[in-house]
């Protein structure tokens, strides 16, 4: 509405004076004509390449019904891939555009059967089972679009997974015939077995202009870093065999070699290693007595003894993956699946998805020349690391190798990350297995910074109507040297705060914020008025803290800006009888929480509490008028993995837990409720993030036999 109004009001200035209705009429007319002509022209001059095909319905179909396209002998052949291609030179980024989801759109060409002039197909297999899986997975994903005009990436349905089954020249011609080919711009080809005898090139030999190649078995000389994607060679066994889960740990064999076609030079080398190290090595080969066929792929032999493959891989800590004719080996996938750490000996090989995967955490790469030193090298790896690698290897397989879907979508995600690098998945997202993702923490305030003292802190006092007590608190806090500002959060909607003249006179700015609802979470709102990093949350009845204690608390916070630094400490305990968590406020030797009735913390946690609190915790706290401090302790511990810091000795706090409710009779139920909070929060967080420590922070010279007046913080611990 607004926009259209704006345009019509601008209209008259742009167009020569004319009667309004005529003007509109002419404009419409001309634009219609113009559009029509443009459209016609487009159709006339659009490059046409496909000869003929019958109309083809999508229902009742099979690969045999795919329209046949006959390639003329003279049909153009694309240029060989350009080795200097990079995203900024050979990829048209305008097609991807800016979109709020930061997701590329991928189009898949409909299946066609390309034949030469004699009717011989360009590929001996046609659409393979795996390529069918791959394209189907992509079409089911968020990347897919069936609108060719919106696509940023195009995937031909011409199956080039295995170069052996292709007629190179004709395949290239077929690619060039694709209606949107445009020099291969923004086209993605998937190839797992490149090259052919005798040279076995490491990249697909089909000329392909500027098309991106997702290839298995790239060498450093053919891989265009940042342009191509190195993918694994899919192992069909993945789909057939389900291996039982095996926990990482020591295995029966130390090193296993299970590939069947190892060059004799390398086999000799392996045999020598076996002689030196005996039982630790298992050296398998194909079984000579078995008939050929699919079954033989599942058996391996050593001196007449038959082993099941890939099950035997689970019996070894390390599994050798040697280069064959090609650099990429399907065995790598089997090895990872078995949770065996691959020992990769394939010089110049670009490991699958190396752009994003940290292979050093899942494999050992050894130069082929050092095959003879393999045993010593592997022995030097710490046990704990081997277990980590076993876990990591299996997780790589599960996430990125296990199916054509996994391979395809990982490839697209990598390309997506290049186009929207600022929204790319992180190293942790790519590389941390779920168990690590679950237990590890990446503190958002990770830089070891000790902020300068000067900006001071902002004290946020939550109050309802205890004006007298509030004024005493304000007066006390105002004596703290590093106080920068006082913010009173007035949580009483029925009563106005006292007049300005009645407030105590303090040397720092004092602001009163009136809230709309009486909610506990108001105390943790990231008010714009808080201009310092450090926040001191304090209740309106905490008058027992001395200026030294508060100043010292601030100093400690500066050393631990990513933690809650508070005065009264509390503990959570596991109640074995009840089988649940229990809240403890007695004198204990341990601390896992500090109360936010008096605590310093970083303003960032206000933001987290308000906007990122998991589940319904925030509402729950507001509804029950309790446990906001426990929630804050959970939140901070969960995101930083660190315990809070209790400062200074225990004082007689006037039942700080009773701030919300007065009267001793309610005290008991209040405590019970706090135990319940811990159990509820632990279930919402899905874990118990609180960390227990046995220390508290005191000034360096606390209780030391030293003149009090020379101490920085003498007045500490008075009751």
């Amino acid at each position: 509405m607004y926009a259209s109004g704006k345009y019509s009001s601008r209209g008259p200035a742009l167009i020569p004076r004319m009667k309004t209705k005529h003007r509109i009429y002419y404009i419409t007319l001309f634009s219609v004509v113009l559009l029509g002509l443009i459209a016609t022209g487009m159709f006339q001059f659009w490059p046409h390449s496909i000869e003929s095909a019958a109309d083809w319905t999508l229902d009742k179909r099979s690969v045999h019904d795919a329209p046949v396209v006959r390639l003329p002998v003279s049909s153009p052949i694309p240029e060989r891939g350009d080795l200097s291609c990079r995203m900024h030179t050979c990829f048209d980024v305008y097609r991807c555009g800016y979109n709020p989801k930061n997701r590329i759109k991928v189009y898949i060409y409909p299946l066609q059967k390309f034949v030469d002039e004699l009717g011989v197909p360009i590929s001996s297999t046609g659409l393979s089972r795996e390529y069918n899986d791959l394209l189907s997975a992509i079409s089911d994903s968020d990347f897919y679009t069936d609108d060719v005009t919106r696509a940023c990436l195009f995937i031909p349905s011409v199956d080039v997974l295995n170069q052996n089954s292709l007629r190179i020249r004709e395949t290239a011609q077929a690619l060039a015939m694709l209606p949107r080919w445009d020099k291969g711009m923004n086209h993605l080809l998937f190839n797992m077995l490149p090259g052919g005898p005798p040279d076995y090139n490491t990249a697909l030999d089909v000329p392909r202009d500027r098309a991106l190649l997702a290839g298995g078995g790239f060498s450093t000389w053919t891989y265009r870093q940042g342009y191509d994607v190195s993918i694994p060679v899919y192992s069909p066994l993945s789909a057939d065999v389900e291996l039982p889960q095996r926990q990482p740990g020591p295995r029966r064999y130390f090193i296993l070699s299970s590939q069947t076609a190892i060059h004799r030079e390398y086999r000799a080398e392996l045999e020598r290693l076996k002689e030196e190290n005996g039982e630790a090595l298992l050296l398998l080969d194909k079984c000579s007595n078995l008939s050929q066929g699919a079954a033989s792929a599942r058996k391996r032999c050593y001196k007449g003894q038959v082993y099941d493959y890939p099950q035997i891989l689970q019996e070894s800590s390390f599994c050798v993956v040697l280069r064959g004719a090609r650099l990429g080996q399907a065995a790598l996938s089997d090895v990872l699946q078995a949770g065996c750490v691959p020992v990769i000996l394939a010089d110049s090989y670009i490991l699958p998805f190396s752009e994003v995967l940290d292979w050093k955490r899942a494999s050992v790469v050894i130069p082929e020349e050092k095959l003879s030193e393999m045993y010593t090298i592997l022995k030097s790896i710490p046990h704990r690391q081997v277990e980590e690698m076993q876990r990591q290897a299996h997780w790589f397989w599960e996430a990125y190798f296990s199916s054509m879907k996994a391979i395809g979508l990982t490839t697209l995600q990598i390309i997506n990350d290049r186009i929207y690098p600022y929204a790319a998945r992180t190293y942790e997202q790519w590389n941390n297995p779920p168990v690590v993702k679950w237990s590890s923490v990446n503190s958002p305030l990770f830089l070891p910074l000790i902020p300068p003292r000067a900006p001071g802190f902002t004290a946020v006092v939550l109050t309802y109507d205890r004006v007298e007590s509030l004024f005493r608190v304000i007066t006390e806090i105002s004596k703290v040297p590093s106080l920068a500002k006082l913010l009173v959060v007035w949580n009483n909607q029925n009563k106005s705060p006292p007049e300005e003249s009645l407030w105590p006179k303090v040397g720092v700015p004092l602001k009163v914020v009136r809230t709309k609802e009486n909610k506990l979470s108001n105390r943790f709102f990231p008010y714009d008025e808080i201009e310092t990093e450090a926040v001191l949350a304090i209740d309106d009845d905490i008058i027992m803290l001395t200026s030294d204690e508060l100043q010292f608390g601030y100093e400690v916070w500066r050393e631990f800006p990513d933690r809650l630094v508070g005065y009264p400490g509390r503990l959570h305990l596991w109640d074995h009888e009840m089988g649940k968590w229990k809240y403890e406020s007695e004198w204990t030797n341990e601390v896992s929480m500090v109360l936010t009735g008096a605590a310093f913390y970083h303003k960032y946690f206000n933001y987290l509490y308000t906007y990122k609190m998991p589940g319904d915790i925030k509402n729950w706290v507001d509804a029950h008028m309790n446990c906001e401090d426990i929630a804050m302790n959970f939140l901070v511990a969960n995101i930083t993995g660190k315990a809070p810091i209790k400062v200074t000795p225990r004082k007689k706090f006037k039942c700080p837990e009773c701030t919300a409710i007065d009267g001793l009779s309610l005290d008991q139920t209040h405590m019970v409720e706090r135990s319940e909070c811990i159990n509820k929060f632990a279930s919402v967080f899905g874990t118990m993030p609180l960390k227990v420590v046995e220390h508290r922070a005191d000034p360096v010279l606390y209780k030391d036999d030293f003149p009090e007046k020379l101490k920085s913080f003498p007045n500490i611990g008075s009751l």
Partner: protein, 739 residues
């Protein structure tokens, strides 16, 4: 008149519609039968669906096998063939580098002796002296694995006064040149007006390039190293810290995106900067360019120049740099620019607009975590892109800029060492750093993979891996006086320490001149006691990374230390929360003595401290390794000769890694008194020179580190109920309070 006009209009409209039908509407259906007209229609709306039924697999096992058996050439021959084919622009480590040279003495670097009369820029001098001061340096070319020229190759711009002539001949005549094999050539500028090629003007042969502003096309992955462009004022060592002091919330600064720099009116690299004004809004996106540079700018100036120049002068670059969330780093004539390091240091998240620039140390640094990689083609989208970046992401990008700046960029030495470490990682492939080691604190230069390739064995990654350090410690008691009586302090210490529930093992390091006492003279303990006789009996040997330390934690002890089991237990529980720091008992402090213009050392009781003595301290075993391998021989020898300051040096080292102070835990009073040197025993603390030496040490160490790494702390950690007015029976660490 009116009617006529109306008819005319109607007629023309009709004609148009007919025309349209002829060319468009009718043509289109007709074209269906024409060649190819149909395809675009079939392209849209034809959703890909899975084909049912069984299809052939893409590969059969037999075929795969026969492929592999087809191969007849020996793999060794194949490798040799590679090194003949892939040279020059296709060089890789596999084909152009001789690994065998590195197997003799490990990764050692040789610097050619400097020729007299050969001019050399200060920057190159700094590079060479950084290498010579590093632990990789060897003066013997026979031991070297990597060679560095003493010919200044930094500036290969022919118009530059720093340009060295006749390099080609000079390089060829070097006796060890060997076609450039295993050489590394440092370069900051190459090419000149007008095309600024990346050619160095001489044949580098098989040498590696460590080059600034290198493009992805010319960059040979895993062979070259992309280094940052640094100015001639870049400090050789030490280096400034990053400017970030606060993590303010919300993280936005006054400006969203800024840039201030030259605009090239014509020629290479001018397009992007010429277009910046489209995005400039003089509010929160301030992109300023000036045409005023070079002699004849007036000649080329365009219509916008005067306006741009005026706007340019209105803003102060420093002010903008400090007060902006993002800083644009567009390419200049060359791909890299000084803006990059400036932004990084200022914690202004760099927004890269330099298509095809292989970012500095791209092999190891994940730049997506510290910068926004833009595309010159999408300049107009940049403001909306940076605005779409979430607050949390900004917070983390900003902190990462600071980490990277301090870890790899803030001095010439760091840049050079990073380059060398990258190459070392390639050479020792299976003992190299993982991505996490390079990209998280404390960074690759402090994380030596030769110690372990397992992240869990370092003090830095416990939280990241979600694991905890091994819950026991190994005590190492440094003994220098002979055993004379069973009541000697060391006996008591041994018993007390071994009694700790967290003690896994005690190592007695016998650095005394007297022969080892018989085994039975040591008191019986429940944990194993290992006696190691120090070979050289030097004090640094207490920090050797002994294989016999089975735990992550080490409790380092002097023989005269007095400690109770409770104190040890408590300190160890504290250390578990701070595994990357030194946790100990007696503390010391440093201060800047402005009268003497040097650092001072104090052992007085003060309200703060910056060191914890390693005569009684717990820290991670890894610091033994770092002390032994990372620190230069010069400092260690100095310490050994004086038999003093080893604890100060350890504190310097740990604080320079962690950037944090050590942690002091509480202790009984009597301990302090013995440590104050009041006892009658012949302690080294009683030596009058002792204190003066420690002053000297402080300053020597600070000069090697290039900066003062020590950080002050004002707190001490006590047990939760320490000296609280509650029954002593409720206290777990009650012995600490008893005298």
């Amino acid at each position: 008149m009116q009617a006529k006009k109306r008819y005319l209009t109607l007629f023309s409209a009709g004609a148009c519609v007919i025309l349209l039908f002829c060319f468009g509407g009718i043509q289109v259906p007709l074209s269906r039968r024409g060649p190819g007209r149909r395809d675009d229609r079939s392209l849209t709306g034809a959703r890909w669906r899975r084909f049912p039924g069984s299809l052939q697999p893409f590969n059969s096992w037999e075929q795969d096998r026969s492929d592999d058996q087809n191969e007849h050439i020996s793999p060794r021959q194949k490798r040799d063939a590679n090194s003949g084919v892939y040279t020059a622009r296709r060089c890789r480590m596999e084909s152009c580098f001789d690994f065998s040279l590195c197997e003799r003495k490990g990764f050692k670097v040789y610097v050619y002796p400097q020729q007299k009369g050969e001019k050399m820029s200060e920057s190159y001098q700094n590079i060479l002296s950084s290498i010579e001061g590093s632990r990789f340096y060897t003066p013997d070319p026979g031991q070297a694995c990597l060679f560095v020229l003493s010919l200044d190759t930094l500036d290969r711009d022919q118009l530059s006064p720093q340009y060295v002539h006749n390099l080609k001949a000079k390089v060829q005549s070097l006796p060890l040149w060997n076609g450039g094999k295993n050489h590394i050539i440092f370069n900051l500028y190459s090419g000149t007006w007008p095309d600024y090629t990346e050619d160095l003007g001489f044949d580098i042969g098989l040498a590696m390039l460590a080059k600034a502003s290198i493009s992805t096309e010319n960059f040979r992955p895993n062979f070259d190293v992309s280094i940052p462009l640094f100015s001639k004022d870049h400090p050789r060592t030490g280096g400034e810290r990053g400017y970030l002091k606060h993590n303010t919330i919300p993280p936005y600064r006054k400006y969203m995106l800024v840039f201030k720099g030259k605009r090239y009116l014509t020629g290479i690299g001018s397009d992007t900067r010429n277009a910046l004004y489209h995005v400039h809004n003089s509010e929160d996106v301030v992109l300023l360019t000036t045409c005023k540079h070079g002699k004849d700018w007036q000649k080329h100036k365009d219509a916008r120049c005067d306006k741009d120049n005026a706007e340019y002068d209105k803003y102060d670059y420093r002010e903008m740099l400090y007060n902006s969330t993002f800083c644009l780093v567009p390419r200049g004539r060359r791909l890299g620019s000084f803006r990059f390091l400036e932004a990084l240091q200022a914690a202004c998240v760099p927004v890269m607009l330099s298509n095809g620039w292989e970012l500095p140390f791209s092999e190891i640094i994940d730049w997506n975590t510290a910068a926004v990689i833009g595309d010159e083609r999408l300049l107009l989208q940049i403001p909306s892109t940076v605005r779409s970046i979430h607050q949390d992401k900004i917070l983390s990008l900003r902190q990462q800029t600071q980490f990277l700046w301090e870890a790899y960029f803030n001095s010439v030495e760091k840049i050079v060492l990073t380059t060398l470490e990258i190459i070392q990682d390639r050479v020792l492939q299976h003992t190299s750093r993982s991505n996490l080691m390079w990209n998280s604190l404390p960074g690759g230069l402090f994380t030596l993979p030769q110690y372990s390739t397992y992240l869990g064995e370092f003090p830095f990654y416990y939280a990241k891996l979600g694991i905890k350090p091994y819950p026991k410690f190994t005590a190492i008691i440094h003994v220098v006086t002979p055993l004379v009586s069973q009541s000697q302090p060391v006996m008591k210490l041994l018993v007390a320490v071994a009694k700790s529930q967290y003690c896994a093992q005690v190592i007695i390091l016998w650095n005394c001149d007297k022969p080892l006492p018989a085994k039975h003279r040591w008191p019986p303990t429940s944990v194993p006691v290992i006696v190691i006789e120090g070979e050289s009996k030097v004090i640094s040997s207490r920090f050797l990374p002994y294989d016999t330390i089975p735990t992550d934690a080490v409790l380092s002890l002097d023989e005269d230390t007095v400690l109770s089991t409770t104190e040890v237990d408590f300190a160890f529980t504290v250390w578990q929360s701070f595994p990357d720091r030194i946790v100990g008992y007696p503390a010391r402090s440093h201060f800047w003595d402005s009268n003497k213009e040097r650092w001072g050392y104090t052992s007085k009781w003060t309200n703060d401290y910056s060191m914890v003595l390693t005569g009684a301290a717990i820290y991670h075993k890894y610091y033994h390794y770092l002390y032994t391998t990372y620190l230069p021989a010069s400092l260690k020898t100095m310490v050994d000769q004086m038999s003093n300051c080893e604890d100060i040096l350890m504190n310097f080292l740990v604080s320079s890694v962690s950037k944090l102070p050590p942690i002091k835990v509480t202790q009984k009073k009597q301990y302090k008194e013995t440590m104050m040197g009041q006892s009658s025993r012949a302690s080294r603390w009683a030596d009058p020179d002792h204190f003066a030496q420690r002053q000297t040490c402080m300053n020597k160490f600070a000069s090697w580190f290039g900066t003062m790494p020590l950080v002050h702390s004002q707190m001490r950690l006590d047990p939760v109920l320490f000296k609280d007015q509650v029954s002593i029976l409720r206290k777990k660490y009650r012995d600490i309070e008893r005298l």
